[in-house]
């Protein structure tokens, strides 16, 4: 009952529905040629412009990024299920999924989306990982909890019950362009470790193994993040070392700045969401870095 009333769940469900329709159209229009599918958290959903990638690569592209709160396994598994043999899947997962332990468990949002989608086990990663959502987890996460209740109550008092983002923010190709602009975008000021965790390694390896069976080619792209200039160089060094570790498992798309940015002019409403200009630049870089891999196919 409360899941259906959750505006965040409703938003992402409507986005998924619209994207599914667009993907179907893409496949019909382009025959059997591979599609480039992007997935990740909101740093992907609000940043990667598939129409730009299409111009660079000549292949149709679509953005299936969700909220990071859906959980890493749900995010990548739901995208894998929409791939066909020969497709290219670009994982633009937020680094914390790969460097922190304990990030692989189902989340409240993931279970809600998976349940309404008809298969709660998707929240635990479905077939790619073989994990299940336990009855305790399901019962636990199907409750609204204090944060949702308080936020919903606060919004109700303000007279604005909707989610921050609207279906009208959805653009061609499935990327989201937020109209919301805070007075100032928060920059990351505290150093973040970027060492690949055991859990992160398992996540990539297991997923890759399943994708290989489906003949899906998987690549990784590091999301862009807005940081304070004081930590720029160290963060780039940390990102370089993460990329070095990840590239031992799957190909990593090149990015001259290793995902670390200090120009707030590229960002929209958060340090992970790009505006049109930033999204265009990033998408161009992604498209160009994909070309060598496409030529070698």
């Amino acid at each position: 009952m409360t899941t259906s009333a959750n505006p965040e769940v409703a938003f992402w469900l409507s986005v998924q529905e619209a994207r599914d329709g667009e993907l179907e159209e893409l496949r019909k229009k382009n025959g059997g040629i591979p599609v480039i599918i992007f997935t990740g958290g909101s740093s992907c959903a609000f940043s990667v412009r598939p129409t730009i990638v299409e111009k660079e690569t000549g292949l149709p592209a679509i953005n299936l990024g969700l909220a990071a709160g859906s959980g890493s396994k749900f995010i990548i598994e739901q995208a894998r299920l929409k791939c066909r043999p020969g497709d290219i899947l670009v994982m633009a997962l937020e680094p914390h999924f790969l460097v922190q332990e304990g990030r692989g468990r189902p989340t409240q949002l993931g279970i809600s989306l998976a349940t309404v989608g008809g298969d709660p086990s998707m929240a635990a990663g479905g077939e790619s990982f073989g994990d299940r959502v336990s009855l305790a987890e399901f019962s636990n996460f199907m409750r609204p909890g204090p944060r949702y209740t308080a936020t919903w109550g606060g919004k109700a008092i303000r007279g604005d019950l909707g989610y921050r983002y609207k279906i009208g923010d959805l653009r061609a190709g499935g990327w989201l362009e937020s109209a919301y602009r805070p007075p100032e975008v928060d920059r990351l000021k505290v150093m973040q470790s970027r060492k690949l965790s055991n859990e992160g390694k398992q996540l990539l390896q297991n997923f890759l193994s399943r994708a290989a069976k489906d003949r899906i080619k998987v690549y990784y792209s590091l999301p862009w993040i807005l940081v304070d200039p004081s930590i720029e160089e160290q963060m780039k060094a940390n990102s370089r070392s993460l990329i070095a570790e990840v590239s031992k498992i799957l190909p990593v798309l090149k990015d001259p700045n290793f995902g670390i940015q200090t120009n707030a002019g590229f960002f929209a409403d958060s340090s992970y969401h790009l505006n049109r200009e930033g999204g265009t630049i990033r998408s161009r870089i992604i498209g160009r870095s994909l070309i060598p891999y496409l030529s070698s196919r």
């Binding site: 409240q108 305790a136 636990n140 996460f141 409750r143 609204p144 909890g145 204090p146 944060r147 209740t149 308080a150 936020t151 109550g153 606060g154």
Partner: protein, 469 residues
């Protein structure tokens, strides 16, 4: 053993079910051993629950209890009980506590000896059952009580509702009940038991756990008195609802099996002075310190001020090995001493309660702030008039990272303060021995607590704060 976890209830149900099978077989084939079998089942349940936490907790428990048993047995075997023997046996029982909890503080912080030991988590409940075992031994010796049956002693030390976080029970209160128990469900006490368990889970899950999840998100400016008071209030509520919640569940579980445990909390934040506060907060620890530290030191004799301060330094250090805990204890002791000089000061009750509440909340700062520099900065902030300027008050919202945090805090704090208000209704009763938390244990209140717990309990599990003691 975390009463708010599914794992605990699952293991308890499993052990209880298995015990029914064992007792069924025993009654059929060896009915003479029925009593012993039921007590063994109770002990086995406690051991399984303790082992499910950690093997270290189990080993430490057996160490303490073994030396406790030796201490009682030595007294039985020899009437010449020298001070040396007493000291050695006391040290042996305290050894795990000293090693796991106080080693670093005593040898490295106080004496600067740099004697490092491997850093491990303190075995669960160590402080509680160590004190309980020691008091059993002292009471046995002092009152020349007869040595109990070994199984009764083991069950006294390990009774699972209270082993990891109290109450610290006395021989005279718990042993007779333990020796009578047959590890059966007491259906006559079912109603009362369920109400205490529901109230405890509500306190823990609705308030304590949610505040525990939200607290790390606070952005406290150490030089802003309103920020620091807010942080103290959040912690003071969290630790009360956490510990009281645990204690209520312990009482409920005890009643379920026919054992009445001490109610460790009796609305302490409604106290009119600190003496009353310590008769209502962690009741069993307060009475333990009174009987085994304060009275042997001389009690309210000539040196009562020193004795009081010593007791509260011990109380502070019992809670944790650190200068902050020591200061916290000392401040409580100082407050008690001031109350001793206060006599019957003519102030309205509401004012006395406000002062006591404010003082108790404020000095939690020394309890939770681990960083010594920050602790001193915040302490000075609390007594600095400049830190109370209006612009400081206006920047209170800056404590929250987002509007969502602010609203969530408001919701949980609102529920916590509402619960405290309902507790206060107990103090309007005219009866001499009011039933504590009676309004919160009425049927409508219990039903509402169940609903709110299901709706608002956090999605992440959180252990009880007092497990670290």
């Amino acid at each position: 053993m975390n009463f708010a976890s599914l794992q605990f209830w699952f293991i308890l149900a499993l052990c209880f079910s298995l015990s029914r099978v064992v007792l069924l077989v025993t009654r059929k084939w060896a009915s003479d051993y029925d009593e012993k079998a039921s007590k063994l089942c109770l002990f086995a349940t406690a051991i399984v629950l303790l082992a499910s936490e950690s093997w270290l907790s189990l080993i430490a428990f057996f160490w303490v209890v073994s030396f406790g048993w030796i201490a009682i047995s030595v007294e039985r075997l020899s009437s010449r009980f020298s001070s040396f023997c007493f000291f050695i046996l006391l040290l042996a029982q305290l050894a795990p506590l000293i090693y796991f909890k106080y080693w670093d503080f005593i040898f490295n912080q106080v004496f600067q000896l740099d004697w490092r030991v491997p850093s491990v988590l303190i075995p669960m409940g160590l402080s509680f059952y160590t004190f309980q075992t020691i008091s059993f031994w002292v009471d046995t010796q002092r009152c020349k009580e007869k040595v109990p049956a070994s199984l009764d002693f083991l069950n006294f030390c390990s009774f699972f509702p209270q082993i990891v976080a109290g109450p610290i029970e006395r021989r005279e209160d718990l042993l007779p009940q333990i020796s009578r128990t047959r590890f059966n469900l007491d259906f006559t006490a079912l109603d009362e038991s369920v109400r205490w368990i529901v109230l405890g889970l509500g306190y823990k899950l609705i308030v304590a756990d949610n505040l525990g999840n939200l607290s790390p998100l606070l952005q406290i400016q150490a030089n802003n008195a309103f920020h620091v008071w807010f942080e103290c209030l959040v912690f003071g509520l969290r630790i009360y609802f956490d510990f009281a919640g645990y204690s209520f569940i312990a009482v409920g579980l005890g009643l379920l099996f026919g054992v009445r445990l001490t109610l460790n909390f009796v609305s302490p934040y409604w106290s009119k002075n600190l003496r009353e506060f310590w008769r209502r907060w962690h009741v069993s620890l307060g009475s333990w310190l009174r009987d085994y530290v304060y009275m042997p030191l001389g009690g309210r004799g000539r040196r009562w001020i020193i004795n009081t301060l010593i007791v509260f330094v011990v109380s502070g250090l019992w809670h944790g090995a650190g200068w902050g805990f020591l200061i916290w204890g000392l401040l409580h002791g100082a407050g008690i001493v001031i109350c001793g000089f206060g006599g019957s000061v003519l102030l309205p009750d509401w004012f006395k309660r406000l002062i006591t509440f404010t003082y108790a909340i404020g000095i939690w700062l020394f309890f939770f702030e681990q960083n010594t520099g920050l602790m001193l900065t915040k302490a000075l902030t609390l007594v600095n008039p400049v830190a109370y300027l209006p612009e400081m008050a206006f920047s209170l919202p800056a404590v929250f990272q987002s509007p969502s945090d602010a609203v969530t805090f408001a919701l949980i704090l609102g529920l916590a303060l509402s619960a405290l208000m309902v507790e206060g209704l107990d103090f309007r009763q005219k009866e001499e021995a009011p039933r504590p938390y009676r309004f919160l244990r009425t049927t409508p209140a219990i039903l509402m607590i169940v609903f709110i717990t299901v709706w608002l309990a956090p999605t992440e599990e959180s252990s009880f704060i007092y497990f670290n003691f």
